[in-house]
Symmetry: C2
Subunit: 515 residues, 2 copies
C-alpha cells in the first residue's frame, strides 16, 4: 500500500513466535495486464450492427457541437454543419480517418518512470472515485468537499500502488473557482508522484495547468508536447451534444499532446435509450464524434475511447450502479472498443448511501463487468457512494482491498514441479498437517496475500477487540496515511518556484473556469 514500489505495499508477514524480522513479500501492483478472458454480451454481427447504427446516427442525425471552433474543424473535414441548430452531421469516412490516426498505445509520464501509465488494450489501470461534490467519513460526517478533503484523498491515493492515475476525488468547494486549478495542480504535484489530472474548464485554466505542470517537471514546451504528462475526462452531454468546455477540452488537450478520456455518461432510460444495446449505441456515436473532433485538432493525439453507462431506477429516476445492466453495458462497450482497436475506460461505482454490504456488492459487481470487458482503465474504482455524489474515506479503503486482490490475480502463479510438490505431500502423513512442513516453513512469510483491512481473527478475539467492522478498521488506515503526510521527492527550488508562480497568478485574479 505504501507509495514506494520497493516496499511494495505490504506489512511484513510474521508468525506469532518469530523474533527476527521476516522478509517482506514482494508485490508489484504497477503495470498490470488484464488476465481475465474477455466476455461478450452480444454476437460479433450485432456489435457490427451497433457500430453501423452509431455511424448512421452521426451521418443522418448528427451531434450538436456548441463550440464554433469545434464546428469549424468538423466542417473543414467535410462534415455538414447546420449553424442554426449547431448540428454537425459527420460522414463515416471522417470518423474512419480519426480512428485510423488515434494511437493504439499511449504512455503517460509520471514523476518517475515506474509510475508511468501505459494505456493500450490489454493493460489494466485503476483510478479511485472522482468528481464528488461531497466527502464523508465516520468521524466528520458528510459535508461539501473542501481543500482539506481534496488533499487528504490525494494522500490516500498516493499510498496505494494499485491506484495508477490520480483523479480529483472531491471538488474543493471552499477554493474559489478562479484559483481552484492552482490548488489542485499544486496539491497533486507535491503529494503524489503519479499521473495527475487536469480539469477541462476552459482554455485559460487548462493552459495555466499545463504551464504549472511543465515547469514543475522541468520540461520545455517541446518535451511537454512530445509526450503526455496528464489527462482529463471529457463527458459528452448526452444525448448527442458536446458543450463548449468539453469541445474546447478535446481541442486543447489534443493540441498539447495530453490525454483526453472521452466518456459519454449515458444512463439508460434517462439520457439514453432504455435498452443496453441502444444506450451503448448512442454512447458509441457520441464517443466517435468526440474522438473525431479530438483527432481533427491534432491527428495522433492521445485519446481514449470510453463509456459510463448504467441504468436509472424507473420508479424514482435515481441512478443505479453496479446493476446487471451496468455490467452488460461495460461488456458491450468492450466489444466495440476491440472493434475499433482503441484503449478505453469503463467505470464501476455504487448508489448506496453508506459503506455497507450493498455498497461493496455494487462496486465489486461493476468492477467485474469492467474486468471481463477488458477495460484499459477502470475509473471510480474505489470510494464512490450515492452514484458519485459522495466519496467515502472508509469505502475508499475497503474497495482498495478488492482492487489489490484483483492485482494479485494479474501475477503469474508458480506451478513448477516444486510448487506442485509431490515430496511436500509425501512429507505429511494421512490426517496430519502442513503447518511445520518444510515447504510451508520455506514459504509461509511470502506465499499469501496479506490483507489490508480484512480481519480474519476468530469471533471471540474480534468481539474482545471491540467488534470493529471494516469501516472502523478503514478509519485507522486512512488516518495513518494522512498523518504520514508523504511528499513527492522534488527539487526545493521548483517547489518554491511553483508557490511563487501560483501566488503571482492568484494576485492577478486567477483565470475564469471557461473559455
Amino acid at each position: 500500500m505504501t507509495g514506494t514500489a520497493e516496499a511494495g505495499g505490504r506489512r511484513r508477514a510474521r508468525r506469532g513466535g518469530a523474533r527476527e524480522p521476516a522478509p517482506a513479500r514482494a508485490v508489484n501492483y504497477t503495470r498490470l495486464r488484464n488476465p481475465f478472458p474477455p466476455m461478450a454480451v452480444f454476437s460479433d454481427d450485432r456489435i457490427a450492427a451497433m457500430h453501423d447504427t452509431a455511424l448512421r446516427v452521426l451521418e443522418d442525425l448528427g451531434v450538436r457541437v456548441l463550440l464554433p471552433e469545434g464546428r469549424a474543424l468538423l466542417r473543414a473535414a467535410g462534415a455538414i454543419v447546420d449553424e442554426d441548430s449547431q448540428t454537425v452531421r459527420i460522414g463515416r469516412e471522417i470518423v474512419a480517418a480519426a480512428l485510423a490516426s488515434a494511437p493504439r498505445s499511449i504512455t503517460v509520464r509520471a514523476a518517475r518512470p515506474d509510475r508511468d501509465v501505459i494505456l493500450e488494450l490489454g493493460a489494466l489501470n485503476f483510478q479511485p472515485g472522482a468528481g464528488c461534490p461531497h466527502a464523508t467519513d465516520l468521524d466528520r460526517g458528510r459535508r461539501p468537499g473542501s481543500a482539506r478533503d481534496f488533499r487528504e484523498l490525494i494522500q490516500i491515493t498516493q499510498a496505494f500502488d494499485v491506484l495508477h492515475l490520480v483523479p480529483p476525488l472531491v471538488e474543493p468547494q471552499d477554493v474559489a473557482p478562479e484559483i481552484r486549478h492552482y490548488f489542485t495542480m499544486q496539491t497533486q504535484l507535491l503529494q503524489t508522484d503519479k499521473v495527475p489530472f487536469v480539469y477541462a474548464r476552459g482554455t485559460p485554466q487548462v493552459e495555466e495547468s499545463f504551464e504549472i505542470l511543465r515547469d514543475f517537471r522541468g520540461l520545455g514546451d517541446a518535451d511537454f508536447h512530445a509526450a503526455p504528462h496528464c489527462y482529463t475526462i471529457i463527458n459528452t452531454n448526452s444525448p448527442r451534444q458536446i458543450d463548449i468546455p468539453m469541445a474546447q477540452g478535446l481541442i486543447d488537450f489534443a493540441r498539447a499532446g495530453q490525454v483526453a478520456i472521452v466518456t459519454p455518461f449515458t444512463l439508460m432510460g434517462a439520457m439514453a435509450p432504455i435498452t443496453v444495446a441502444g444506450a451503448i449505441t448512442l454512447s458509441h456515436a457520441e464517443a466517435l464524434a468526440a474522438i473525431t473532433l479530438n483527432q481533427l485538432a491534432r491527428p495522433g493525439a492521445p485519446v481514449l475511447y470510453g463509456t459510463f453507462t448504467s441504468n436509472v431506477h424507473m420508479k424514482s429516476g435515481a441512478p443505479a450502479l453496479g446493476t446487471p445492466e451496468h455490467f452488460k453495458a461495460s461488456l458491450a462497450a468492450g466489444q466495440l472498443a476491440r472493434l475499433i482497436g482503441l484503449p478505453w475506460r469503463s467505470a464501476t461505482g455504487s448508489a448506496a448511501n453508506t459503506n455497507d454490504a450493498q455498497a461493496a456488492h455494487e462496486t465489486q459487481f461493476a468492477l467485474w463487468g469492467c474486468l471481463l470487458a477488458g477495460a484499459t482503465t477502470v475509473i471510480h474504482a474505489a470510494g464512490w457512494l450515492e452514484g458519485g455524489l459522495s466519496i467515502s474515506y472508509e469505502k475508499l479503503i475497503t474497495d482498495l482491498e478488492a482492487l489489490q486482490m484483483v492485482a494479485e490475480l494479474c501475477a503469474a502463479t508458480p506451478c513448477e514441479d516444486e510448487d506442485i510438490g509431490f515430496d511436500a505431500i509425501a512429507e505429511v502423513a494421512p490426517g496430519g498437517h502442513f503447518f511445520a512442513a518444510g515447504q510451508t516453513m520455506a514459504r509461509y512469510q511470502t506465499e499469501f496475500y496479506e490483507p489490508l483491512v480484512a480481519d480474519w481473527s476468530n469471533y471471540g478475539t474480534w468481539a474482545e477487540r471491540g467488534a470493529r467492522d471494516a469501516s472502523d478498521r478503514a478509519t485507522d488506515i486512512w488516518k495513518r496515511i494522512v498523518a504520514e503526510d508523504w511528499r513527492a521527492p522534488a527539487d526545493p527550488a521548483r517547489i518554491g518556484a511553483m508557490a511563487e508562480d501560483i501566488a503571482r497568478r492568484t494576485a492577478a485574479g486567477g483565470a475564469p473556469p471557461e473559455s
Copy 2:
C-alpha cells in the same frame, strides 16, 4: 424472490403516478447456464502435470481409508492395501475406470419438475451457506444453531429461485443427534419443494432419511433408486484420509443412486501444501480416491467432483476465504474438472465476523472465482460468516442480491434492430431526455433488474427514512419471508403419514449418527 416460478421473484415496477397495476417483469432464475468464459490459472501442460502427480500420490503414497468395507472394495478392484496402516494405494487404471463410469450429466429430482437440478459442466447452481454451528441476526444476536433457526433458514432458502439446492444451513443443536435427521428431513420436505440434503452420518440415519424421502414423494424403491432425489456432501479428512462416515456415505449414496458431492476441504498451509498448485493437487488426489470408492460401490452412481481450497492466515492459522489464493484454487480445480470431464462444485465464503464491506467483498470475490472456474454448483454462496462458523440472516439476504444479479447475466440480452433502436435515438433531440420516449414508455416496467435489498434513493430521502443500512433492510425481508410460513403443496395424507412414521421412529429411540 418468491417460491413460484410464475411470480418470478419480482415486485412489480411502477412509476409514481401510475394507477393501474404494472405487468410483472418475468424472470427465470432456474436452470441457469454459466455464461462466463472459463479462466485458466495454469497452462494445460501444468494441469496435466498436476493430474499426473495426483495419480502418483494415489499409487505411491496412498490414502488411508478407515472403513474396512471401503478398503475391501478398493482391494477387490486391484488396489494395494496395507491393513496395519489402513493405507490403500490405488493404481491409475482403477481411477481411470471410475472416471469412465461416473456420469457426465445428472438430473436430481425435486418436488416438482421445474425445481429439478441439472448437474453437468456448463450448468450453474447455487446453494446457500451450509453446516454452520451458529446462527446470527441483528435482533437475536449470535447463538448456537437451533431447530427454529434451521426451519427459518430453510424458509428463506425456499423463497429465492436463485437458490437451487437446499443445504442444512445451520446445525439444529437443540435436537438430539439420534432424531435430528427426522427433524431435518421433515422440515425440508414440508417447507421446500427443492432438492433436499441428507447428511452422511452413518448407514442407519442415511437409510431412514432415504425412506422418509421416498415415502413422502410416493416413490417405490425402484423409482427412488432409478434417479437421484437428494444429495450429500462428502468431505475427506485432508491430507489423504477418508474417515468411516465419509467412506460409508460414498458407498451408501452410490448404492442408493443418490448424489454424493465429493469435497476435500484443503486449507493451504494447514491440511494441504502451502502452494495453490500443491493444495489443489492433493485435493484432486483425494477427490479421485473418493470418486473411485463411490464408483466401485456402484458404477455409474451420480457423483460430483469438488474442491474447497483456500488459505489460512499464516500469522494466526485462521482460515481465510475470498482471497486471491482461494480464487486461483477454484480456477485450477475447474481446469482439472474439465480435464476429467465431470460436473463439480466449488465454494465461496467469508471469514468476516459481521455483515460488513469485508464480508461482501470476500464472498463476491470468491464467487467470481467459482464463476470463472466454471463450477457446476457453487456452495456456501450466501450467508457465511466466520469461515462458516456462523450463518447470518442478513448476509444471506444481501448475498442473494449478488446471486440474482449474476443470474440476470445468464439471460440473453436483446439486441435486435428495435433494441439498438435508431428510431428511438432519433426521437430525442440533442440535450433532451428519454424518460418519455416511446421505447422507454413501452419498456420501463420490465427492462431492468428490480433490486431485492439495494436502496437507490438519494441521500436526503434515505437519511429521512432512518439511514438504514443493507443489514437493516435485509432484516425486514427475512422476517417477511419467515412470517409467510410457506408450505410445499403436498397430500395431507402423506404429511400425516410422515409425522406418524417419525413419531414411531422417535419413540423407538431414533438412530445413532454413525454406522
